[in-house]
Amino acid sequence: MKPLFLAQIGRQLFAVDKENVVGVGVRNDDTIKPVVENGRAYLPLPHGNRAVICDLQTLMTRNGGLLPSKRGYYLIVAHEENLMALTMSGKGRIIMADVAAARPLPPAFARKSRVLIPGVLVNCTDLILLVDLQALLGATDGEASLGVARADNERPAREY
């Protein structure tokens, strides 16, 4: 069993390793405006940090559908040298899950999807998609260079 952070995006459930989670922030463009630089959007964070905004919802709605979007939050995660801000619908929660029981996507899905979602957890009728952060970073336009302070993985999750 492993602690995961469960994020809801529209009606879909995604999970990332809890160890990577730095915090959760309210998505409110009036007070904190994302900065666009070289075609990538960054979320300014306290202490001069910033996080690459990774919008999973956009990656899903490219194929035509529109997910309901109410008040949103950012899930701030640290991955190697990068901080990433994943958009999500709710605040999310921490769960314990047996990741060894995760199943791969059906072979119909393209390599890109299979790398991005390396496993699917089945919980009754719910499907929880495990997200590969490196692949997500790549899917939202190549490598990002933050050039600012490195995230401290040991920091407990907090609300910005």
Binding site: G10, M60, G65, P107, A108, A110, S113, V122, L127
Partner: protein
């Protein structure tokens, strides 16, 4: 006995399609042995990074099945028409998983209700007349037959490459 069944008719399922370049009614034919179940509308788990024709994934009797929109599959270059559907048809594709060897099923979305008809062996032999398919269908790489039957054009598709994942590479190249 088998002869009597053939006389009574084989149940077939006609899924209406919207095909670019075709003015008449086009339906996709599925045989009774292909169709596992027809489900009502229910949430489909979308998967990021999927091609336009893959609407997501559905948990069906402990199996994860891809959800396919045939209109988007057969009209290459489209931007995805609609995610709305009335029914979901669970089908056997006849293909097997290249890794596990398991038979692969899929779910096909139906924007309008699937029509069910019984076709006798005699009708199969006489009423289906082969005809030239529209270019979008012909170029799909999945067409196995195209026929005229009464007022409908009937397409027979092979979804094996789609569920095996070999079609998505082909699709990606064609759309780049």
């Amino acid at each position: 006995m088998a002869h009597e069944r053939q006389q009574a008719g084989i149940r077939t399922f006609f899924l209406p399609l919207t095909i670019n370049g075709s003015t008449g009614n086009v339906v996709c034919l599925f045989s009774q042995s292909q169709v596992v179940e027809i489900l009502g509308a229910r949430p489909v788990q979308q998967i990021p990074g999927s091609p336009v024709y893959l609407k997501g994934m559905l948990l069906y009797h402990d199996s994860l099945l891809p959800v396919i929109n045939l209109d988007d599959l057969c009209n290459r270059g489209g931007n995805g028409r609609s995610d709305r559907y009335r029914q979901l048809m669970v089908i056997r594709t006849g293909a097997v998983d290249p890794v596990t060897g398991e038979p692969l099923k899929a779910v096909v979305t139906a924007g309008v209700r699937v029509r069910i008809a019984k076709i006798t062996g005699q009708e199969l032999a006489t009423a289906f007349v082969a005809q030239e398919p529209p270019p979008s269908l012909r170029n799909s790489g999945l067409l196995r037959g195209f026929f005229q039957r009464q007022g409908d054009s009937v397409a027979v598709l092979d979804l094996g490459p789609v569920v095996q994942g070999t079609f998505s590479d082909h699709w990606g190249e064609a759309n780049n």
